[in-house]
């Protein structure tokens, strides 16, 4: 007869295995539903027009003024090109506000020289919380360019300053080092023009620029490159932006518009108080808060998501970069979840409370822990002979094989996009990556997410840098001395935690 503690130990083991398997099944179920909804939506919806003439015709007369806000921190190598790219966006009534967030390098000097800046007065109707503004400059070369020079805060702080100084009806928040398609704004404004007035925010898809050819601040040739790390991230972004977000948008449960590109109604942002400073996932927090406020005030609100709007960003190309990024995303997600936990299973918040928040808990709170624990339990169980190999096979099927099938499925949606990845060869590499990523990379990402959970529990708020090579073939080089790592309230990397894939297993 086994001793009671043996029975208890085995019962605990079995319970943990059952918990891990059940969690993986739940996550897979959610992912499968998202894929199915996204596939159906992509097939049923009209293909977005590629005809700029048509887009302009519908936009020109009614185009609300848009203020594009680009926070910049230590971006001396790319700032001039990035701002030229923003100024060349095709839109009838556009204002570009660059917020220099206390850069320690030559960012401000380059802006001053390139755009012939002169001091300017700009009245602000309502100031959001941000650090002290040192100066405000207008360009002699471009009437619609304004540069706000301020003391260092975080991206949220810089964006708030930009919003305070903006004059547009709509606010477009974009990373200064991201590249948006020239027609992106004209597309993004359509829901505001064609809608019933309830649209408060519009998001677009973020795509990996590694492997693409960028000239003059625009992506001229789409490609994927041949390096595994960016390839894996490309697939992750496809799953998140072409399946997860599309499905969430159709279900009215979209919680996140990436901070790398988003268009918001200014009055709504001002009413909500802008971005929050103490959050590592400020864009996730903002959208949750906007919807929460709207729900609490019984106001109709719609969050639109247009996957055909492409904002190109560079993925980290080193494993350390991926680690730092994912750890931060995880922390940000957990911060937002616990801050707004009152929404969980709260009928007052409708689908957000009943579906979106439970999904966030499943993905960000339980998911990474359960999956990693499952791997450990499988290995230990097989080594000790206490686990039926069939269970390990089941776990393999549910994680690795299912993950590959999901990636293959999302590539079908990707092919329906107006700008699919170029060439058959690139596609072949992506298909290979869809299988390979499940043997090592997937587990590594779960480990980094678990690290994020630990950091969250320890209340660590330091931001570690994410090394990047720079878009357009320009290496970004090392950050200036002394800014590589700072205390929590300083900006290190403006890359956006909101790029975090939402609603699909990484």
């Amino acid at each position: 007869m086994p001793a009671p503690f043996e029975v208890a130990g085995m019962a605990l083991y079995n319970a943990l295995v059952a918990f891990c398997v059940a969690t993986v099944i739940l996550r897979n179920g959610a992912a499968l539903i998202q894929l199915a909804v996204a596939l159906r939506a992509t097939m049923r919806e009209a293909r977005p027009t590629m005809d700029m003439f048509d887009l302009w015709q519908r936009t020109e007369a009614q185009a609300p003024r848009i203020s594009v806000i680009a926070p910049a921190f230590n971006e001396e190598l790319s700032i001039a090109q990035s701002i030229q790219s923003l100024l060349s966006l095709q839109y009838p009534d556009l204002e570009v506000i660059v917020v220099n967030d206390g850069s320690k390098d030559r960012t401000m000097e380059i802006l001053r020289e390139t755009f012939d800046l002169v001091p300017a007065e700009r009245a602000i109707d309502r100031a959001l919380h941000h650090t002290r503004v040192v100066g405000c400059y207008a360009s002699r070369k471009h009437d619609n360019l304004l540069v706000v020079d301020k003391e260092n805060g975080r991206k949220a702080d810089a964006t708030n300053a930009g919003i305070s100084y903006s004059s547009g009806d709509l606010i477009c928040v974009i990373d200064a080092d991201s590249v948006i398609d020239p027609e992106g704004l004209v597309r993004a404004v359509q829901p505001f023009i064609e809608g019933d007035g309830s649209v408060i925010a519009v998001g677009g898809s973020i795509r990996i620029a590694n492997g693409c050819t960028i000239k003059g601040g625009h992506v001229v040739k789409v490609g994927t490159g041949r390096e595994w790390l960016p390839l894996f991230q490309t697939l992750e972004y496809f799953r998140a932006f072409l399946a997860g977000r599309v499905a969430a948008s159709h279900g009215g449960i979209l919680l996140l518009i990436s901070g790398a590109f988003g268009l918001f109604r200014r009055d709504v942002l001002l009413e909500a108080g802008g971005y929050q400073h103490d959050s590592l996932g400020e864009d996730l927090e903002l959208l949750v808060r906007l919807q929460r406020i709207a729900r609490e005030n019984n106001r109709p609100h719609t969050i639109a998501y247009l996957p055909e709007i492409c904002c190109w960003t560079e993925a980290p190309f080193t494993i350390e970069g991926v680690r730092n990024q994912r750890t931060r995303w995880q922390q940000g997600g957990l911060q937002v979840f616990f801050k707004h936990r009152v929404m969980l299973f709260n009928k007052r918040y409708g689908r957000l409370g009943m579906i979106a928040f439970p999904l966030l808990a499943l993905e960000d709170l339980i998911g990474p822990i359960a999956e990693l624990l499952g791997y450990v339990l499988m290995v230990v169980g097989l080594a000790l002979g206490i686990l039926d190999p069939a269970v390990a096979v089941l776990y393999f099927l549910l994680t690795c094989l299912f993950g590959s099938l999901m990636s293959a499925g999302v590539l079908i949606i990707e092919e329906m996009q107006p700008r699919p990845v170029a060439g058959v060869a690139d596609f072949g590499w992506l298909l290979m990556a869809a299988v390979v990523e499940n043997f090592g990379y997937r587990q590594l990402i779960q480990w980094y997410r678990l690290r994020g959970v630990v950091h969250f529990l320890k209340k660590k708020t330091a931001w570690a840098a994410v090394p990047r090579a720079g878009l357009g073939g320009k290496p970004a080089g090392p950050p200036p001395k002394g800014v590589e790592r700072r205390k929590a309230d300083l900006t290190i990397d403006h890359r956006d935690p909101g790029d975090a894939p939402q609603g699909t297993p990484a």
Binding site: E6, R44, D54, Q62, L384, L394, E415
Partner: protein, 262 residues
């Protein structure tokens, strides 16, 4: 260590259906099949893109030769060209041309069935596809197309679709009576959207005689808490036709926000 193995020996093992390993191999085979299928699709899509580009170039060359008068119009040949050309290219051509050339191409495009998919999409029940179809039908002129659009003006399921249909109906070159137009505008719902403003602008451009009544209607609606209409009013006031400008100016005062406060 022996203790652990002794413990393990007593423990019950989890049991699962025996076909699980088969499922694994089946799943792998399924994955391989999907990958192969996707690759084939990709290759075919690349070929299709090339074919479309070729058809596009062919259409531009053929239509360009008619526009330039390089050779006389062969209607059968033109129709055959339009049948093969991508719809977006034809629409782009139509947006760039006016007058006889546009009318000629539209007539042959209608005969070639270029707009038939748009009529089908109108009945799809999917709002985005219906709106996209209405955009395409702006260039159609035949009575069948007008009837299909008018059906959406009157019976469209949502105000947004109805206003889009009305925009298309006016853009098709129709001249509805003032009363009919007023009734249809009223059917586009109480909310004043930017598409309403676009519609009023189009009416001001295409049907200038109707605008004074339209302004009256807009005024009435403005009292229903829709001050966004001021933009449309402002546009009407600056219309090059004096009658419209006067009518708009006369009716602006009652809907000014200061009057509402008073």
């Amino acid at each position: 260590m022996n203790v652990i193995w002794n413990i393990v020996g007593y423990l019950p093992a989890l049991r699962l259906p025996a076909g699980l390993v088969d499922a694994m191999f089946g799943g792998c085979a399924l994955l391989a099949g999907i990958c192969a299928w996707l690759m084939v699709r990709r290759v075919l899509a690349a070929q299709r893109r090339e074919t479309t580009q070729a058809a596009n170039l062919f259409m531009v060359r053929e239509l360009g030769s008619y526009v330039l008068g390089e050779h006389p119009v062969d209607l059968d040949h033109l129709r055959a060209t339009l049948e093969q050309a991508p719809l977006q290219s034809i629409l782009h051509f139509l947006r760039l041309h006016r007058g006889q050339t546009q009318a000629l191409v539209i007539a042959q495009a209608e005969l070639a069935g270029v707009f038939d998919p748009a009529i089908k999409a109108l009945g799809s029940g999917v709002a985005s596809r219906q709106i996209e179809a209405l955009k395409h039908l702006q260039f159609a002129r035949g009575p069948a197309f007008r009837s299909a659009v008018l059906r959406q003006v009157i019976r469209g399921p949502t105000p947004l679709l109805r206003v889009e249909a009305l925009y298309t109906f006016v853009a098709m070159g129709t001249s509805p009576s003032e009363i009919a137009l007023a009734i249809w505008i009223d059917g586009t719902g109480p909310d004043m959207t930017p598409r309403h403003q676009a519609l009023f602008q189009l009416i001001a451009d295409r049907l200038p005689d109707v605008l004074p009544d339209l302004v009256q209607l807009v005024t009435t609606r403005a009292f229903q808490d829709q001050l966004a209409v001021l933009a449309a009013q402002h546009q009407a006031m600056h219309h090059p036709l004096p009658a419209i400008g006067t009518a708009a100016a006369r009716l602006r005062a009652p809907i000014h926000p200061s009057r509402r406060v008073a």
